[in-house]
């Protein structure tokens, strides 16, 4: 019967091996498992936003059909291409690190970083446009122009109009201590069943994917979701940029090679996740019709 013991650490201690690991392979495998677990937490975090998107779009499709045309498909597509390209250079960079091609690695990481800057630059242009046009979430939504192909509602119902533009404190909740069977008398924000606005209900037969009608109610919800999703994504891009910059610093010192490329590999996995999220954001926000 073989004696089952924990093997002693190797006599010569590889440079990048932490003291609590037995081998570089174990350390690398642990790190890989760790980063995949971290990526699943990131996916689950974004899934909350996708869930909110799904619920809002299924209950208020007219808002999405109407408001998405405020967004520029060209800029969104440009950003998509930029990110995909940066993913390509990042994956190539991991390969370069594995093969010890230090100069190439530094160049590729730099290109990835530049792509990230371009992405943020385009996003800045888009956000600036939204800010100037007052296409902002929640109570800050005050558009001056309708989107291309849409028109403002001239005959907006007074109930929803007054509720949307007033602060909640102005709408006094009237609580009646009546029997359980009575409905609440709090004025709803939008009229109609589950918040569908009347003009939409009337225009339903015009085809689901086209919206040439008047502005529906609660369009600010679209911009809430838009800014929340692209904003959180942008924060992750910035985080990725910081880490990639750190990698470039290390790579220039020639630290990475066939025995030690794990940091590049793991940061690469994170960066691909950032790309993945955008791959879904782009059609869901920009390409609705």
């Amino acid at each position: 019967m073989t004696q089952l013991t924990i093997p002693q650490s190797p006599h010569e201690h590889p440079e990048h091996l932490a003291h609590h690991f037995e081998s570089l392979q174990q350390q690398y495998d642990s790190g890989k498992l760790g980063i995949w677990l971290f990526l699943t937490t990131e996916i689950l975090m974004f899934s909350g936003l996708f869930c909110g998107y799904a619920v809002l779009r299924s209950l208020h499709p007219e808002i999405f059909l109407y408001a998405h045309r405020y967004l520029s498909v060209e800029l969104g597509a440009l950003n998509t291409v930029v990110l995909i390209f940066s993913s390509f250079t990042m994956a190539w960079g991991v390969r370069a690190a594995q093969l010890g091609q230090t100069k190439l690695l530094v160049r590729l990481l730099t290109i990835t970083l530049v792509c990230a800057f371009v992405f943020l630059g385009v996003k800045f242009v888009e956000y600036k446009n939204k800010w100037e046009e007052n296409l902002l979430p929640g109570k800050f939504y005050h558009p001056e122009e309708p989107p291309p192909g849409g028109e403002f509602l001239k005959l907006r119902g007074t109930d929803s109009q007054s509720v949307k533009n007033d602060k909640p404190a102005d709408v006094k909740p009237q609580v009646t201590a009546g029997a359980v069977g009575e409905r609440s008398t709090i004025a709803p924000a939008a009229i109609g069943p589950t918040g569908l606005s009347e003009p939409w209900l009337e225009g339903k037969h015009h085809g689901r994917q086209s919206w040439s009608g008047p502005e529906p109610d609660n369009v600010q919800l679209f911009f809430g979701i838009y800014f929340a999703m692209t904003g959180l994504h942008g924060v992750h891009v910035i985080g990725g940029m910081i880490v990639i910059a750190w990698l470039i610093g290390k790579a220039r010192k020639g630290v990475f090679g066939p025995d030690h490329f794990a940091p590049v590999d793991f940061v690469g996995l994170y960066w691909h996740l950032v790309d993945l999220v955008w791959i879904f954001l782009f059609p869901l926000l920009y390409l609705i019709s």
Partner: protein, 131 residues
């Protein structure tokens, strides 16, 4: 879990490194090209009105792009199956969450705003409780 002894002799051929598989450059470029084509496709399809199918087609194309990124850029094709299982497990939980929240929201009726859940429909309780 018996660990193989670490092989510290670095092999410098382009398919194998000491610690992990190296992706060939032609494959990376091919995947990149495919992703560009699919991006173009998704933009093109968006200009055609297919009703509800637009959403599903867009999601399908995005799913295809994602699959390419995950399998090849993120290395999962050559990785330990367990890491893939983690990822698939994650997706299952995401679908559970979105699925139930979505179906529940669609079935909810408007009177939910007033606090009358569908289960309480038609139940009349006099003020102060049943005597």
């Amino acid at each position: 879990m018996i660990q193989k002894p670490a092989d510290t002799s670095a092999k410098h051929d382009s398919t194998h490194s000491a610690l992990g598989h190296v992706v060939p450059l032609w494959l990376l470029s091919a995947v990149f090209g495919a992703l560009l084509v699919l991006t173009g496709a998704t933009v093109a399809v968006a200009h055609i009105d297919l009703g509800n199918m637009n959403l599903y087609l867009a999601l399908a194309i995005a799913g295809a792009k994602a699959t390419l990124v995950i399998l090849f850029f993120m290395h999962l094709f050559w990785d330990r199956p367990f890491n893939a299982m983690i990822f698939i497990g994650c997706l299952l939980f995401v679908s559970l969450f979105i699925g139930i929240a979505l179906t529940d929201s669609r079935v909810n009726d408007a009177s939910a705003v007033g606090g009358q859940g569908s289960a309480m429909r038609g139940v009349h309780v006099p003020l102060g409780g049943p005597k």
